[in-house]
């Protein structure tokens, strides 16, 4: 049911004039993709520096909360640009993207990463004691930093997998993969 709805939504988007314009213009799509990828250096770059500080890998002599607070703004700016360009990339190729297994797993990891960031932020605010100047953050924050690193590595890796067609609807007959990727037509044809 959900797969049918998502497919209909994708087909509706694909029929839009602006969606076709985005994908037809070689440079418009390339610029979008380039901006999406290059903003990694701002968003994930800043996020990783914060995580690395919690683990004591960079600037252990600088208070951890200062690093987190100062890098918060560039990180958010980077993520907003990534989010907007990401949405436009989906809008340009909606059916292909919605029926990508990698895209679906990426979205789940993205959701988990945001939940982890929210928990991490709350822990950072609620962390008691004067650990801020310690080279390594307390265990709960270190755990949050490691989870964040793993999840974002997963998000980037799966984002890289999306253009590859190994498990595209037309390249697999495995029913579990077809269901997970939302390949409605192929499942109906079986």
């Amino acid at each position: 049911m959900i797969n049918e709805l998502l497919l209909q939504f994708g087909q509706w988007m694909e029929a839009q004039q602006y969606s076709q314009m985005l994908v037809a213009g070689y440079f418009s799509y390339s610029w979008l993709e380039a901006t999406h990828v290059l903003t990694l250096m701002v968003s994930i770059g800043s996020l990783f520096i914060i995580d690395f500080r919690m683990l004591g890998w960079v600037m252990p002599n600088v208070p951890a909360s200062t690093i987190a607070a100062r890098l918060h703004k560039p990180m958010i700016i980077g993520f907003v640009i990534m989010f907007i360009t990401g949405l436009l990339l989906v809008y340009a190729k909606p059916v292909e993207t919605i029926q990508s297994l990698w895209f679906r797993i990426k979205m789940i990891l993205l959701l988990l990463a945001f939940i982890n960031a929210w928990i991490f932020n709350n822990r950072l605010k609620g962390a008691e004691g004067n650990w801020d100047n310690d080279p390594v953050a307390p265990r709960p924050l270190r755990t949050g930093a490691i989870i964040s690193l793993v999840l974002w590595c997963g998000v980037v890796t799966l984002g890289r997998y999306i253009p590859y067609d190994w498990v595209d609807c037309t390249n697999t007959t495995n029913t579990t993969i077809l269901w997970a990727a939302g390949c409605v037509d192929q499942l109906n044809a079986l």
Binding site: A34, L40, M41, L47, I49, V58, P60, V156, T157
Partner: protein, 195 residues
Amino acid sequence: MLGSILSQYARTLSVFAAFLLIVLVEVLGIREAIYPSLEAVFNWMNQSSWLGIIGTTYGSVYATVEAVHLLSMAVLGGTVLATDLRLLGILFKDIPSETLVTGTHKCFKWALLMAILTGIFCAAGVANKVYFMEVFWIKMLVLLVGSCFMLFIKQPFLTSRPHVEIDPWMMRLLAIASILTWFTVAATGRWIGFS
């Protein structure tokens, strides 16, 4: 006298010598003479080296290494931005710039090493294509210049004396040069993917 000048301006002279070398390589036609012979090396990288064979045979391995390359560039970008925005006086104003310059350098070096290693693998997988791409050679040149700039000019200069003794405009120029260099490396890398 000459020795004193050479030691005092060692870095400046090295940069000038490197620039002169590049000009000579171009003017004397050395680049044009070397370029055709490199095609065989690139074909070997793609078809016979184990990096090229793995890259062309296993798409998933290639894509995963590409992802590690992107992540390395992200970390590199994070360290460059944190340091250079401090040198520009935009971020971390309450932290001494010396602390950031020294605190992020190790991370920068690891990220650069990872980016180069994974980049070699990625290039080997498509070596027979990148050889003909102008943008690939631009990226290699900027990467070389950027690495030398960071490791032999910017970092030694910024760690050689307290930053209060350095002209603020010099620090800003170093930061702008660094941001532009690494942005060019990343952007040309992205362009290789489109070509």
